[in-house]
Amino acid sequence: MTRWKNAFFNITFALNCLLLFLLLLSDKMVIPAWLQVGGRMHPLLLHFPIALIVLYVLWILFAVSNSHYKQIASDLLLLSSITSVITALCGLLLSREPGYDPDALQTHKWAGSIIAFLLIFWYWISTAKNVSRWFNISASFVMLITIIVAGDLGAAITHGENFLMAPITPEKERKTVLFEEAFVYADVVQPVLEAKCLSCHNSKKAKGELVMETAGLLLKGGKDGRLWDTTKADLGLLMQRIHLPEDEKEHMPPSGKPQLTDEEMVILERWIKGGADMNKKVIELPPSDTLRTIAYKRLKAFSEEKYDFTAANENTIKKLNNTNRVIYPIAAKSPALVVNFYNSPYFGSKQLAELADIDQQVVELNLSKMPVKDEDLKTIARFTNLRTLNLNYSAITGNTLDQLKKLPLLKSLSLTGTAVTAKQLAVLQEFPKLRSVFIWNTGISPTALAAINKQGKIHFETGFDAAGVVMKLTPPIIANGDSIVTKPVAVQLKHYVPGTAIRYTTDGTDPDSISSPIFKNDLQVQKMFELKTRAVKPGWYSSDVVSRYFFTSRYVPDSIELLKPADAKYKAKEGRTLNDLVKSDPGRGSGKWLGFRDNNLEALLFFRQPIPATSVILSTLRDVKGLIFPPASVEIWGGTDKNKLKLLMHLSPKPTVKGDPNDNFPITCEFAPTNVSFIKIIAKPISKIPAWLKDEREKAKIEEAKIKKAELEKAKKEKVKGAEPIAEKSKDKRSAAEKAKDEKPWIFIDEVMVN
């Protein structure tokens, strides 16, 4: 047994010698591929010495002393020693592979090797000399600590710095720099250098005699000269080195070190290109500048406020809180309070003065629309921690604005809609922290403002300026519910924009903005007319025209019988459709229109009591695309005996010509006053569509056929190429007669009115 141990010890010793030798010459080592495999065993093997040493420590601490005690302790120590030296050797081989941070590697390498050396020394001393148990115990603790340190250093290489303690180390608070206050060099460029260059180019290491710690040293450059030269196309040394391929020796940062991201390269390039200015502020860059855009993303736009005063008494806050004065901390556990006032009738100076108990805690005060008086600003000046003050639409005149100078932290002041003047605002420049002032709708002229604005760091928000902006008005609203009235009714027109004139016509022409009558609630529906109206106002573009037909229906038929049925698709509620006093919109699909194509429209109107009729209005439709036209002819028959009706009126509406609007088409048939109980209406659809329309449709068909043919040919070609075959569309198999029927014109009607 001892022979074996001796042999093991000798091997371990030899390996340690080898380790020392390689350690000193590690820079010159070239590792063959097959040995690399051995090197890569390092992360596996390293667990053996750790476990064995821990086991050894436990053994000498807790094992009961007997004959085997020493034997086992010494065996464990030897095993630890041999595994640790093998681990260290493997690690050394692995360290020659690229991709590791050389600095971190160096310390870990030495720490690991020291463990191996210490262990063999310890084993040797504990076998050669009879060391006390206490020596062993103290030595093992030293060992444990060394292992933890070496292990942590190793972890830093594979898992990153401070891997072990990171979860419990508080994150370093980043200095927050406001975008408005940031410098291009100090706050955008320098952080990049710090993160990616400074680990080598610092005053301690000064690789290549270059130190990048300060602006002055950066300007000096290194042993190869100055870092940039804006006269050169490649901008000089720094840019050259950065843009070399990564495997090139000269490439920076060196391979294995964290590399610059694309964005970081752009930052450096843009900064150098712009003259490498050390004192330029980010906001001085033009708005579309790339550097500015990147800086904007990286910097904070707002600073976090710190509130270090004591909190107010909770009961005080509770007592002061009510529905018109709401007080709450800006966040749970924060001493800073926000105070909002609501409901102006409840507000008075007293309500503000009552806040005296919390005047050190209020950081935001919202008095928007409250009748705050000039002397109230004195009270407000006592809220010394106030940051944000909203006085929009309050009653202040601005005479006492200087009172607020006492607020050392006031950052934002809203004065929208108040009576302040440009002169009074001058005092604001003396406010130490004030950055934003809102003065929209105060009547301060742009020129007066420009004068104040030049002076300082305050941003005056003037908001939207309506001068010279001309917008289009919305059309008037025709508020009448019914378009068909049975007795005279006033037309109701309205417009929501104050000061708007509503002009209208009743003769079908478009109203103009000068001579058409202005609506003054004096328009009555007494007979059928088309109302056209538009809104007009100085400083605005006139609105679009809206129109609506108004109909009178003095005698509503008690029933209407359709003598010939309407088309099955458009039969609505049949006869009842025509006397329901509801005007439908011009959409043919609304289900409220009766359509006739194969038949004439023939309807019989019946009145229980004879009436003295003078006219009949047919509300028809024109929709050229849908082949809906006014009838070719209309006949009105009437009388008191159903079988002895007289022709009262016959007329042929004007045929549709190209360009006629698709709209309602009311037809009025007037005749001499006649007493009637029955009225029969016969309207014939036009026999065929107008010639001009036919031509148009033919042309469109030919066009379509051409396109289809081209598509088909294209598809065929693709088919040859092996593309997906496209099924030819099934041809229309209906007979020519059926197809011709599609071309027949319609009559659409939705209401008949008798006067």
């Binding site: 993303k297 929208t416 928000e461 309506a466």
Partner: protein
């Protein structure tokens, strides 16, 4: 009759007894979980098992940390506007107009039933002109000239994505954090987490408007309080001339009478509450009180006559026509200015499956000017810093054409894999563009933002930790962000 009543009472008492029994059993069981073994395991699984009692974990009514935004106005573009025609400019689609969408881009991803059976997916390039605007050089289409004019206030997120592919689930997902409709809406969560700023108005208001484009419905489940107390429910304002109906006291009833009536009613309700303990009863009492206070607060807000002419010019003349998007924007500003935590607008009509170029023109005309005006208006009052404005739909639209493609006409199907949303004010970085899509505008290539991330970010801006804003219901804790979501720090100023 009497027997009936007695019987009823017995049933009631029995239910109460069982309820209490239940409570105890549940408590007992949850205590049991603190047994030694499960405690060790439990402390690993539930990190703060020993640190806090769950009922005390959340102080409702206050943010966890200093908020960047106090209020939200959400301009929801219902039906999904086409990002490819408004914000996400893809010249590649124009050069490849009519060619088939490469399979390598689509990668076999799910399509809706409306185009899944299409033999071809011809790419459709936008017919609208794009230009670059602002310091971020954001691409915005000619359809949105007013939006482009405020681009330096916008934080444009081009890389939103969602899980749902049809309107209802996607909308519900956006509003409640789940595709099934039984959860609490975003506004309700904020009302629950932060409470109402102005006790005279509801914390969560909803305004609807319709565009002329192909519309998709909105329904009250989108502003439902879900499992939260019903005082957190969204209050829908009417689109007519009186946004809140029946606010005035009827003839013969003056303010003191009303007060006395409500006091008596509250007394009766209180009696009922102490007997039955149903939380809905106390909600009812609170709602009556709210309505009473609204009688004074609302008429002042809904009265548009006091608005100066420059405001009308800014929002457009439509802003005085009740029920339009512009009018709702103006009303939203007034509500928000008066402390309403969450104003939710829905504008319908963006679902352009066909004739997109025609439809989107009208839709943009409806919303462009007023959306931009809202931002300018908040800004000129010093309110933009504390108000978050959000604009966007429930998903995007496809880069390929649905139906027949013409040279200047196309339709686009639903596309959940990438779309654009913008935010402004309230602690988001102004003037940036976040995220990127591939050159076909089909997949996201940089900085994707999931709906849960979006919710987490919004809650963060409002000072709430989305992992702490929980409500225990039916034995589990619910969050707006369900079980995922991370705050997108890059969006936060």
């Amino acid at each position: 009759m009497e027997k009936d009543l007695a019987n009823k009472k017995f049933v009631m008492n029995k239910e109460f007894f069982e309820h209490r029994l239940n409570m105890n059993r549940r408590r007992f069981l949850s205590r049991l979980s603190l047994g030694i073994g499960s405690a060790a395991l439990g402390s690993l699984l539930i990190p703060d098992l020993f640190q806090s009692k769950e009922e005390e974990a959340l102080i409702t009514g206050l943010p966890d940390f200093a908020p960047k935004a106090k209020r939200i106005i959400y301009l929801f573009q219902n039906g999904a506007p086409s990002q490819l025609d408004l914000f996400d400019y893809k010249p590649m689609l124009q050069t490849m107009h009519g060619e088939d969408l490469p399979a390598s881009i689509r990668m076999g991803q799910r399509l809706t039933g409306m185009t899944a059976n299409q033999k071809k997916f011809p790419l459709a390039g936008t017919t609208f002109k794009f230009s670059e605007y602002g310091q971020a050089r954001a691409t915005i289409s000619e359809l949105l000239p007013y939006t482009a004019s405020v681009v330096d206030d916008l934080c444009i997120v081009k890389s939103m994505f969602t899980e749902a592919i049809n309107h209802d689930p996607a909308l519900t997902f956006f509003q409640t954090g789940a595709q099934v409709g039984n959860r609490a809406s975003m506004g309700s969560w904020l009302s629950y987490g932060l409470g109402s700023e102005n006790k005279n108005l509801p914390a969560f208001c909803v305004l609807l408007s319709k565009g002329k484009g192909n519309g998709q419905g909105v329904y009250s489940k989108l502003w439902s309080n879900g499992f939260l107390d019903s005082i957190h429910q969204g209050v829908q304002f009417s689109s007519g001339e009186n946004p809140v109906l029946y606010l005035n006291n009827p003839e013969g009833m003056d303010k003191t009478d009303r007060r006395r009536m409500l006091d008596k009613l509250a007394e009766l309700n209180q009696e009922n509450y102490s007997e039955f303990g149903d939380p809905e009863i106390s909600t009812k009492i609170q709602q009556y009180e709210m309505a009473y206070r609204m009688q004074t607060a609302v008429p002042d807000i809904t009265d548009m006559k006091k608005e100066p002419e420059s405001i009308i010019k800014m929002y457009g003349a439509e802003s005085l026509v009740p029920g339009t998007f512009a009018a709702n924007c103006l009303l939203a500003r007034k509500l928000s200015e008066n402390g309403v935590r969450f104003v939710q607008l829905y504008h319908q009509g963006w679902d352009a499956h066909d004739n997109l170029p025609g439809q989107i023109k009208g839709q943009c005309k409806d919303v462009d000017q007023a959306s931009a005006a809202l931002i300018t208006d908040l800004k000129q009052r010093g309110l933009l810093d504390e108000t978050l404005v959000i604009w966007g739909g429930e998903f995007g639209r496809t880069n390929y054409c649905q139906g027949k493609l013409a040279k200047d006409n196309y339709g686009r199907d639903h596309h959940p894999r990438c779309f654009t949303v913008w935010m402004a004010g309230g602690g988001v970085k102004p003037g940036i563009v976040h995220g990127e899509t591939d050159e076909f505008g089909y997949n996201i290539v940089k900085n994707p933002v999931h709906v849960h991330d979006f919710h987490a970010t919004i809650l963060n801006l409002m000072g709430l930790d989305h992992e702490k804003l929980v409500y225990k219901h039916q034995g589990r804790r619910y969050r707006l962000t369900d079980v995922s979501g991370k705050v997108v720090k890059d969006l936060i100023a």
